[in-house]
C-alpha cells in the first residue's frame, strides 16, 4: 500500500457511502435517529476534498488527515469513532509504503481506538461486530503470508458476515440500545458502513493490482 492507494481507498469509501447513503440512513431510522448515511456522506466528502491537494510522504499521513477531517465534520457517534480509528491506523503507518503485516497492525490500532473511545465489545451490535472479524481475517491471512489483496478480500468477506450477524443481536451500545429487545431483527448501520470500508479497501487494492498487471 502506498499513498496513492490510501487516497484511492478514501475516495472509494466516499463513493460507496454516496451510493449507499439512503440505505444507511434507513437502517439508522429503524433503530437509531436516521442520520448515519448523511453523517458518513458529509465526513467522507469532506475527506476527499481535504486530500485533493495534499501530497503527503507517508501512507499514514493520508489516513490521519482523513480521520481528523471525519472528527471535524461528522459529529454523532460515528464521527469520533471512525475519525479516531483512521487517525490510529494512520499513525501506525509512518512509511511511504506498507506491507500486509504493517497494515494488519494498523487496523488493529484502529479497532483499539474504537474500543477505547466507545467501550463496546463484540456482540453489542455496533461497528465492532464488522470490524473485529474483518481484522481477525486480515491478520490470519497476514500471518499465513498472504498479500494485501488477498488479506483485504478476506477481511471484506468477514466484515460483511459480521455485519449480517448484527441483525439478531440486541444492542447494548449506542442509540439502538435504548430500544432494548426491539433492536433485535435490524442490521446495525455502523456495522454496515464498516463493511463498506473493508470492501472498498479490497476493491481499491484489486483495481490497483489490475492496472499494474495491465501496464
Amino acid at each position: 500500500m502506498d499513498t496513492d492507494l490510501a487516497r484511492t481507498w478514501v475516495q472509494a469509501i466516499a463513493a460507496a457511502v454516496d451510493q449507499h447513503k439512503d440505505h444507511l440512513t434507513q437502517l439508522d431510522s429503524a433503530i437509531g435517529d436516521a442520520d448515519h448515511g448523511t453523517n458518513m456522506h458529509r465526513g467522507f466528502s469532506a475527506a476527499v476534498t481535504a486530500l485533493a491537494d495534499y501530497e503527503p510522504d507517508t501512507v499514514g499521513a493520508v489516513l490521519v488527515k482523513t480521520g481528523t477531517t471525519l472528527i471535524s465534520t461528522v459529529g454523532g457517534a460515528s464521527g469520533p469513532l471512525y475519525g479516531g480509528a483512521f487517525r490510529a491506523i494512520g499513525k501506525a503507518l509512518g512509511t511511504p509504503t506498507a506491507d500486509t503485516q504493517q497494515v494488519a497492525a494498523a487496523l488493529a490500532a484502529g479497532l483499539a481506538s474504537i474500543q477505547k473511545l466507545g467501550a463496546a465489545a463484540p456482540g453489542d451490535k455496533t461497528m465492532i461486530d464488522a470490524y473485529a472479524p474483518a481484522l481477525a481475517a486480515f491478520q490470519q491471512q497476514a500471518d499465513a503470508g498472504a498479500d494485501l489483496d488477498t488479506a483485504a478480500v478476506a477481511a471484506a468477506d468477514a466484515a460483511e458476515e459480521g455485519m449480517r450477524a448484527t441483525t439478531p443481536m440486541q444492542a447494548r451500545k449506542g442509540r439502538a440500545s435504548y430500544l432494548g429487545a426491539r433492536s433485535i431483527g435490524h442490521q446495525d448501520p455502523g456495522a454496515t458502513s464498516t463493511a463498506l470500508v473493508f470492501r472498498t479497501l479490497a476493491e481499491s487494492l484489486a483495481a490497483s493490482a489490475e492496472s499494474m498487471g495491465a501496464r
Binding site: 431510522s29 435517529d33 459529529g75 464521527g79 469520533p80 469513532l81 440500545s177 435504548y178
Partner: protein, 331 residues
C-alpha cells in the same frame, strides 16, 4: 416530505441565519455554528451546551443572560463536532472556566470529551455536567445509559443563574450535577417525526397505538401500546418517574410538560391538569412549572414529563432573571 425548507443540506445554516436575524442580542457564528451571547463576560463561568438540531428551542433558544453563554447546534439529530465546541468555549471563556452541559448520548459524549481535551490544551478550564434523566432507559451495562432529555432545561437554567451570580466553576458544575440527579423524565409519542435528510417518518404507528418511552430523536420507544386517555398516559409516565425517584407529601418540585413539536398547547394543558391533580393527591407541591415546547423532536406529536425534586437553592436560582429567546423573566 412536507417541510418549510429550501433543501435538507441548507436547513441548519438557514435556520441559524434566521435566528441571527430574529435575535439581534445573540451573536451567531454561522461558519463555526456557534450561537453565543454578544460579549465575553470577564470573570464569569461560561456555560456551553450543544447537541443535534431539531430540538428547538433547545439549545440556541436558551442562550442569554442567566442561562447559556453559547450553544453549538449540530446537524439535525447529530451531535456537533469538537471544533464547534472549542470555538464556542474560546468565544465565551471569561477566564473563569467553561462548563460543558452534555446530554448523555454516545455521540455527544465522545465529541464533547474530545473538545474538552482540546480546550484544556488551549488553556481553558473545562468541567462537564452530564444530563441523563430519561427513566424509560435503564441505566445498566445493557444500554448506553439513560438519555438526556427535558432536564437539560432545568440544568441550563439553574446552573446558568448560579454562574451569573459569580460562582466558581466547581460550584456551577456541582449544582448542574445536583439538578440532573434530582430530575427524571418520561415521554410518549403519538406519531413519528421526519428528518429533512431521510424525508420519511421514522416509523409507522397505527391510528390506535402510541410509542411509550421515546427519546427526542424520532426513535421508537421502549414499547408500543394501545392509545389511552391522557389521565392514564400521565399515570404511566408518573409511575415510571416516581418508581425511580420517590416523592412524598410536602416535597417541592419543578415540573415541565413538554411538547415534542407536533402537539397542540391545549393538549399540554390537559396533561398538566392531570399531573397537577395526581400531585395534589399525593401532597407533592408543584412549586414551579413550564408548559410548552422546550425540547422538541421536530414534528413529533408527543409529550414528555420532567420532574425535578427541587431544594431551596434550586428554586431561588430558578426565579433569578433570565433573558433568552425561549425563557424570559425578571428582565
Amino acid at each position: 416530505m412536507k417541510k418549510f425548507i429550501n433543501a435538507p443540506e441548507a436547513v441548519l445554516a438557514e435556520a441559524l441565519s434566521g435566528i441571527a436575524a430574529a435575535h439581534p442580542g445573540l451573536k451567531v457564528d454561522v461558519e463555526n455554528k456557534v450561537i453565543s451571547r454578544g460579549a465575553r463576560r470577564s470573570g464569569k463561568v461560561a456555560l456551553v451546551s450543544g447537541g443535534g438540531s431539531g430540538h428547538e428551542p433547545l439549545h440556541g433558544g436558551f442562550v442569554g443572560e442567566g442561562m447559556l453563554d453559547a450553544a453549538c447546534p449540530g446537524e439535525v439529530f447529530t451531535s456537533p463536532v469538537p471544533g464547534q465546541m472549542v470555538a464556542a468555549a474560546q468565544a465565551v471563556d471569561g477566564g473563569a472556566g467553561v462548563l460543558f452541559i452534555v446530554k448523555n448520548y454516545t455521540g455527544d459524549v465522545l465529541n464533547f470529551r474530545m473538545a474538552a481535551e482540546l480546550a484544556a490544551e488551549e488553556g481553558i478550564a473545562v468541567e462537564t455536567a452530564l444530563v441523563d434523566d430519561d427513566v424509560a432507559v435503564q441505566n445498566s451495562t445493557w444500554t448506553a445509559g439513560r438519555r438526556g432529555t427535558g432536564a437539560t432545561v432545568f440544568v441550563e437554567k439553574i446552573a446558568g443563574a448560579l454562574a451569573e451570580q459569580g460562582a466558581g466553576l466547581a460550584a456551577v458544575a456541582e449544582i448542574a450535577k445536583r439538578v440532573n440527579a434530582a430530575s427524571r423524565s418520561f415521554a410518549v409519542a403519538l406519531t413519528a417525526c421526519t428528518t429533512p435528510a431521510s424525508g420519511k417518518p421514522g416509523f409507522d404507528l397505527p391510528e390506535d397505538e402510541m410509542e411509550v418511552g421515546v427519546g427526542i430523536h424520532g426513535e421508537p420507544g421502549r414499547r408500543r401500546e394501545k392509545l389511552r386517555p391522557a389521565r392514564e398516559i400521565v399515570a404511566t409516565a408518573l409511575d415510571a418517574i416516581l418508581a425511580d425517584q420517590p416523592l412524598t407529601a410536602g416535597d417541592e418540585t419543578i415540573v415541565m410538560v413538554n411538547g415534542l413539536g407536533g402537539t397542540p398547547l391545549i393538549e399540554l394543558y390537559v396533561v398538566f391538569h392531570e399531573i397537577a391533580a395526581a400531585f395534589a393527591d399525593k401532597g407533592v407541591v408543584i412549586a414551579r412549572n413550564l408548559v410548552g415546547n422546550y425540547v422538541t423532536s421536530l414534528d413529533m406529536a408527543g409529550v414528555s414529563l420532567t420532574v425535578c425534586k427541587a431544594d431551596a437553592d434550586m428554586l431561588s436560582l430558578w426565579d433569578a432573571p433570565v433573558n433568552t429567546p425561549a425563557l424570559r423573566w425578571g428582565v
